[in-house]
Symmetry: C2
Subunit: 233 residues, 2 copies
DNA sequence: CTGCCCTTGATTTTCGAAAATACTAGCTCT
DNA sequence: AGAGCTAGTATTTTCGAAAATCAAGGGCAG
């Protein structure tokens, strides 16, 4: 007889802790959990229905990703946002993305080209469906992330890919903050297409310049439209 | 009356978990815990005298640093070593260190110069005391780490500094592996001094070239003398 | 004899209570 | 009145047992 009838539902990952980490990550990135907010275990226990220990493990993982900060013996809080942090983050992301795209262009074979083309194609379909504010669409966010991941997918550096992913997620929170205030979304379609063309055309210098500007422009927009929300104004 | 009489001894950090993480980190880096070794909780409980939960938290932290790998539902093991990993790591370290040294040279003020000079001076004193195999000396390792940290200390990027520290630690394990096999330690005194001079003299291009070569040379030596120890030989 | 399923044992993961620590407020002494 | 101490409360951290999951060995059908 099957004993898994009462098994807890685990949507992402095999363990409850990784599932909760996933949910909290979404909440933090979408600012459902506000920057700087203190995370008390009793409250979290109610929200997520897990015990101290399990929550603690989930939080520890998020600390490693920079979405939560821990002060020993004084609990956890959602990582605050600030212009200084955004600028720091942006510079780190440009440094790493530029290097990884260059390496991908050097190493990438047929599979890589196919992945890049298919991911930008998917992005185009989603953008075509809802021309207005596609950037708020969660589906677009996934496709957007996957396009950028495909560009660096052939770099051959697991270490930097892991770091890149974590920085991308931290940046996503800033993108979400600015999306609420920005008058209308910037049109990124052209930028993405140019990036794809430079990558497939093996024009490394141009691709690097484009990705650097792409990341920097997004940050500049965030600063422009959301700076009053930040603690260091 | 003071109630701390029975307080557990915590050498590093305030919590037991961070203390244990610190001890395990040392053990892994020094290969007292061998690469690839599976870490069973029952065994760890005996070695470190802590409970499941506390050990789990310590391990989770080490996973984030890349010194331990976790397979969900299948436990933890010490991160394996391989030439591929070492090469990947080296390339990442060069990318980041080069950038951070350049920025430090741009931003660094008097305090930075003083920190660089004082840390290389301390390194020189230790090297002078035991001319032979100073690289095995734990005191030298600390001074060596602090010298390299001082070089990038004025970069102004907390994010990349944190990443840099974690990569440095991962690399230290490879340095330790090769130290046991290497006929005699390479003479790094001159390299460090040249680095210091280029940094203080604000010659960014030269400092970047020197640091890149410094890191690359160390890796080349590890590969040369220890490659047969690695799984991917 | 071979392959599949189920039981059994080992190991990890989760839980909530108990201990340790930090914070708050009220009191005393100067 | 103000500073420093003390007791009480809130919160985090740690523990070991209990539940869930995985891995291996034995029995049964084909």
């Amino acid at each position: 007889m099957n004993v898994t009838a009462f098994k807890r539902r685990k949507e992402f990952g095999k363990t409850l802790a990784s599932d909760i980490a996933h949910r909290m990550r979404s909440e933090i990135v979408s600012c459902g959990l506000k920057p700087g907010e203190v995370l008390k275990f009793d409250a979290l226990r109610l929200s997520y229905g897990a015990s101290f220990t399990t929550l603690r493990e989930a939080l520890t993982n998020l600390v490693a990703e920079g979405l939560v900060v821990a002060e020993e013996q004084r609990g956890f809080k959602v990582a605050p946002v600030s212009i200084a942090d955004l600028i720091d983050l942006t510079r780190a992301r440009i440094l790493i993305d530029v290097d990884l795209i260059r390496r991908s262009i050097e190493n990438g074979g047929d599979d890589w080209e196919i992945a890049v083309i298919s991911s930008i194609h998917r992005l185009g379909i989603i953008e075509g469906r809802a021309v207005e504010d596609y950037a708020d669409n969660p589906e677009w966010k996934v496709a957007h992330r996957e396009f950028h991941e495909s560009l660096v997918g052939a770099c051959g550096s697991p270490t930097l890919l892991g770091i890149r992913q974590s920085l991308f997620e931290r940046a996503e929170r800033y993108r979400n903050i600015s999306a609420r205030l920005r008058p209308r979304p910037r049109d990124k379609v052209g930028e993405h297409r140019a990036l794809m063309k430079a990558a497939i055309g093996r024009d490394a210098d141009r691709a690097c310049e484009l990705i650097a500007r792409h990341i920097q422009t997004t940050t500049d927009n965030v600063v422009k439209y959301a700076s009053e929300l930040f603690s260091d104004s």
